[in-house]
Amino acid sequence: MKKPFILKIPVSEITPQHQYLNRRQFFKLAATASVGAFLTACGVNPPIQEEVVDSQEFENKDILDELGDPANTYQEITHYNNFYEFTMDKPGVAVLARDFPTSPWQVEVGGLVHNPRIYDIDDLRVFPQEERVYRLRCVEGWSMVIPWLGFPLSLLLKEVEPTTSAKYVKLTTIMDPDNMPGQKSRFYPWPYVEGLRIDEAMHDLTILVTGLYGQTLEPQNGAPLRLAVPWKYGFKSGKSIVKIELTEEMPKTFWNQIAPNEYGFFANVNPSVAHPRWSQSTERRIGSNTRIPTLMFNGYEEQVGQLYSDLDLQKNY
């Protein structure tokens, strides 16, 4: 197996240091220990002053993914969200999610494992957090480049030790209609459930995300814990996860239940499998008005292609 792609260079090294620090000043840095540790590790003391976040100006053309595409701005990533638990209105999610309580937060990891355990969110922040600049391709035909902060799901799974009969990983989003008004809608089979085959879940590209742009994840992006599977359409990456279960049966996932002919279990980004609504052969990068070709497995074919070598991707879309 080929060594999977890992972004080994943190944002701080790609970005000229002075610019990085300028951006940092916008943040209330004291917030997270991880960021503090991150900066300290770089031999920089976190700035003490707490300046008001002016995320409009927070952008950096020097953060690139491995294809050389620049990251989207913090404003774009935090103000254009598909998070139907709050609202179907993408810019409205940030507003409704503002006061969403993400602490205390526990994640139950169980099912077909030898060491089931309930993790406090802080226990999960102990896993070594790394920066990964991933492309996110929404099934709706738009995409972003996002510098996530997180750790491979495989690290967590190895700790709970899946049994030999575990074939799938099921991830469940919190059910909290009091704080998530969208969950009051009866048109949806809440709570949101997503799933991966175990080899997909163990793949190094699959990460659990705790942060964005080096700071703690915002609720609209799925705080305090979300998944990022960059070679699949965005809806596979469940947000605000409270339960991770290993199962023998393929989990019944949210969109697959609603419209199985449109949203397959695998949902790998695949320009050759058409969707009844959106173009899957092209996409628009947020911030640009021109269409670009969509890449097989969202450009991660080299890393994940072998997972599907004996699968008919036209049928298993």
């Binding site: 103000h79 048109f187 609603i258 009844p276 628009r284 947020i286 911030g287």
Partner: protein
Amino acid sequence: MKKWSWLHIVTHILALIPLLLLVIAYFTDNLTINPIQTATQRSGDIAIVMLFVSLTCTPTHTIFNIPVLLKLRRPLGLYAFFYASLHMLTYTGWDYGFNFNLIASEFSEKRYLIVGVTALSLLTLLALTSHNWWKKKLGKTWKKLHRLVYLAAGLVVLHVAWAVKGDLFTLQGDIWKPLASGIVLFLLLAARIPPLRKSLSKFRHLRFARSNPIQSKNRPSQEKTT
């Protein structure tokens, strides 16, 4: 020469406000960070509202006997056509940059686009023949031809139903828009079925008086029944 009533003026102003808001939103960066998608959806929404409002004139007149409303059907229908064209232009021009290879492949594989473009073709035909000159020339055929608007409206509902993330038949997903527009269209069309129309017109007698008997006498009878 056509006389411009205050009602016409108000109608034109109201019908142009959504365009103004769209233009303002564009220039003030208020179309979200995905302006193409937002503009496409908004122009489509406005077109549906215009089309449905134009279809509301006749049943409203049936119930309340306000013949002047019948005069608003044509401008409202033309506004529906205008916004639908804007919707189409946003998609083909702004989104796909008039790349006809890409557009053609999209149109060949997506059913919602096929019904959408069919509906717009019908509206185009009706818009082109909306002038009085055509009305005179076509005579009775004109009325029949313009009944195609009902088909166009039905296709529009189907277009929306297939364009949202959800399934109208299992009532799952993002379906409030097709559901609401489907119900509204059903009521608007039902009010035109002769027996129902007759019973609705009985409400007129419950009202204090005929608002303007002279005007309604002068109206050609075909306009009332369309």
